[in-house]
């Protein structure tokens, strides 16, 4: 038995070295595929149920089975979730939260990446005395629970008149995105050959010229990774949204939670699930389009400083 399993393992890059041809239906393979298949069903189930529930009428939900596909497909829950469902003050649906999230995410992603890429560039190529002290603080700061800092930040934002504004929230996202992104860019720019940098300096190029003319065009892939990482993180944020904005500016996550967990009125499960799916559309699209780059963004979090 042991021999069978070890034979199957790792045919090694050199197929020429002559392991037996792989049988597609060995006992081991059947077992692996069936386990993976069952697990895949478990991971996909919530998505499937969300989708099915969102396409059913309320009557069918009450009498039927959540796993059953809809007998009569209706898109009404989607329309209602997007345009007319009520959240406390207003009844213009989740579209408000969607546009708020866009207004929050776009500038936050832009500023956090702009600041962090310059940080990473300065830290890897223009090291000045004390730079690494601040970098270390930044990395340690990434582990401080947000709860420790949220209130003093409220005070700070109030002082500069940004509390409750989108601007304040953008600033908060820029600050809290800084550790991981700076690390990402610092590691990337450290791998750029030093000769390139030296040659540019010999030619008389200065800090910003080198950054914009040489480093920026070279670092496009890492910028894409950073955009994926930040867009997903900021779109999915709940805590900062609920603390640093006013209800009319609430991002989609906060609005979604208010819709589904409101205690008043009849629970419209189909509308709730349509709303939940709508909130997941942006990160899921990014995820499916980006593929391996998404994984690279995750791995960035795991890279040691």
């Amino acid at each position: 038995m042991a021999d069978v399993t070890t034979n199957m393992r790792r045919p090694s890059p050199a197929h020429a070295s002559g392991p037996k041809p792989r049988r597609a239906f060995s006992r081991k393979n059947i077992m692996i595929y069936s386990i993976l298949f069952v697990l895949a069903v478990y991971y996909l189930l919530p998505f499937y149920v969300m989708l099915m529930t969102s396409l059913k009428g309320l009557a069918e939900i009450r009498t039927g089975n959540i796993f059953a596909p809809p007998m009569e497909i209706t898109f009404e829950p989607w329309a209602k979730a997007w345009a007319t469902v009520c959240t406390g003050l207003n009844c213009d649906g989740l579209s408000r939260g969607f546009w708020n999230s866009v207004k929050i995410t776009v500038p936050s992603v832009f500023f956090s990446i702009a600041v962090a890429s310059v940080n990473g560039y300065a830290l890897s190529m223009w090291r000045f005395k004390g730079a690494n002290v601040f970098f270390t603080i930044l990395i340690i700061g990434a582990f401080i629970p947000y709860q420790v800092m949220i209130y003093p930040i409220v005070v700070l934002l109030r002082e500069i008149g940004l509390y409750g504004n989108l601007g304040g929230l953008v600033l908060v996202h820029t600050v809290f995105g800084m550790p991981i992104l700076t690390l990402l860019f610092r590691n990337y720019f450290s791998s750029v050959p030093e000769e390139l940098f030296k040659a540019a300096r010999v030619d008389g190029a200065r800090f910003w010229t080198i950054y914009f003319k040489i480093m920026l065009p070279m670092a496009v892939p890492i910028f894409v990774v950073a955009v994926i990482l930040q867009t997903t993180a900021i779109w999915n944020d709940f805590l900062f949204g609920v603390i640093y904005t006013r209800p009319e500016n609430y991002p989609m996550t906060v609005q979604l939670n208010n819709i589904v967990n409101s205690v008043t009125g009849v629970k419209e499960y189909n509308v709730n699930m349509a709303a939940t799916l709508l909130s997941g559309v942006v990160p899921l699209t990014i995820y499916f389009l980006s593929g391996k780059l998404f994984v690279r963004g995750i791995a960035a979090g795991a890279v040691k400083g």
Partner: protein
């Protein structure tokens, strides 16, 4: 070029220093400044607004005498330990299965990782719906003929944490798989060849050789998952709202409610300071293992 006179140390590399101002401000004002501010004000009797009236350790005494805080801590400990163990085990098993030179590897990986792209709010709401006893899994199984089947973890104070755990694992295990898979792929083929020649069975190779070799990956994963656990907040808000009763309260929610709902700022400060202390206890051994060990090795 610009070295006309003797540039003083301050003006050397000036552009880089100017460019680093946001980083310096973030590091000093937010990460250091705000943390210190919170710690200091945890010794005051701030209520609706921060006040400077010093009360020593009163807030901490009150905190540790508060039932809700004790429940929160206990919940986080139970959730955290189970989450760590299960996330690592499931993540590793998934990675090991995917690493068997299978077909559709990308497909499986995409399926296992997609929950991680969703927010905790979405995760919590889906699982709230699936675990709804009236319409969810329980009802579906009962419809199959198992009339007495019972599966409603969210409505029972004794089991609600496990309901949250199911959702948390669904969300996070893909991330662990991803990191573990990278670790497995980093292991030299020769290791497998050598153990194969020695006739060591695969499962034993994993336990005795591969896992010890993946120590850095395990440590990184441990730290990532742990820092996620301590932040646990959105998932509970969406899935249970802390209920039934206080049964699924967590520290992060306690802090938020004290600061922004109950107008009891100093209690929030004291509680968040305790969270910071907990993190320090996790980080220091890790930093020691990671960076202390490297210098000698």
């Amino acid at each position: 070029m610009s070295q006309s006179g003797k540039p003083t140390a301050l003006f050397k590399n000036l552009s880089a220093k100017i460019a680093a101002i946001p980083m310096v401000l973030t590091a000093l004002m937010v990460f250091v400044g705000c943390s210190v501010w919170t710690i200091i004000y945890s010794f005051t009797n701030s209520r609706l607004l921060p006040s400077a009236e010093w009360v020593g350790l009163d807030q901490y005494e009150r905190l540790w005498g508060t039932r809700r805080w004790l429940i929160s801590i206990e919940n986080l400990a139970i959730y955290g330990i189970l989450m760590l163990i299960l996330a690592l085990v499931i993540g590793f098993l998934l990675a090991a299965l995917i690493d068997q030179k299978i077909r559709f590897e990308d497909g499986f990986r995409t399926i296992f990782l997609y929950p991680y792209a969703l927010s905790f709010i979405v995760t919590g709401l889906v699982w709230q719906w699936l675990l709804n006893p009236e319409f969810g899994i329980q009802n579906a199984v009962r419809n199959l003929g198992f009339e007495t089947f019972s599966f409603d973890p969210l409505y029972n104070p004794d089991t609600v944490l496990y309901g949250v755990l199911i959702a948390g694992l669904w969300h996070t295990s893909g991330l662990v798989m991803c990191l573990m898979l990278a670790g497995l792929r980093g292991i030299d083929e020769d290791v497998w060849k050598a153990t194969k020649i020695d006739g060591i069975p695969a499962w034993k190779t994993y336990i005795v050789v591969v896992i010890p070799m993946m120590r850095p990956v395990f440590i990184t994963t441990l730290v990532l998952v742990t820092s996620g656990i301590i932040k646990l907040y959105d998932l509970v808000i969406a899935q249970t709202g802390g209920g039934p009763g206080l049964a699924s309260e967590v520290p992060a929610k306690f802090v938020f409610d004290m600061m922004f709902v109950s107008q009891n700022l100093a209690q929030g400060f004291a509680a968040s300071t305790m969270m910071l202390v907990a993190v320090i206890f996790v980080i220091i051994p890790w930093a020691y293992l990671e960076f202390g060990g490297k210098k000698h090795g």
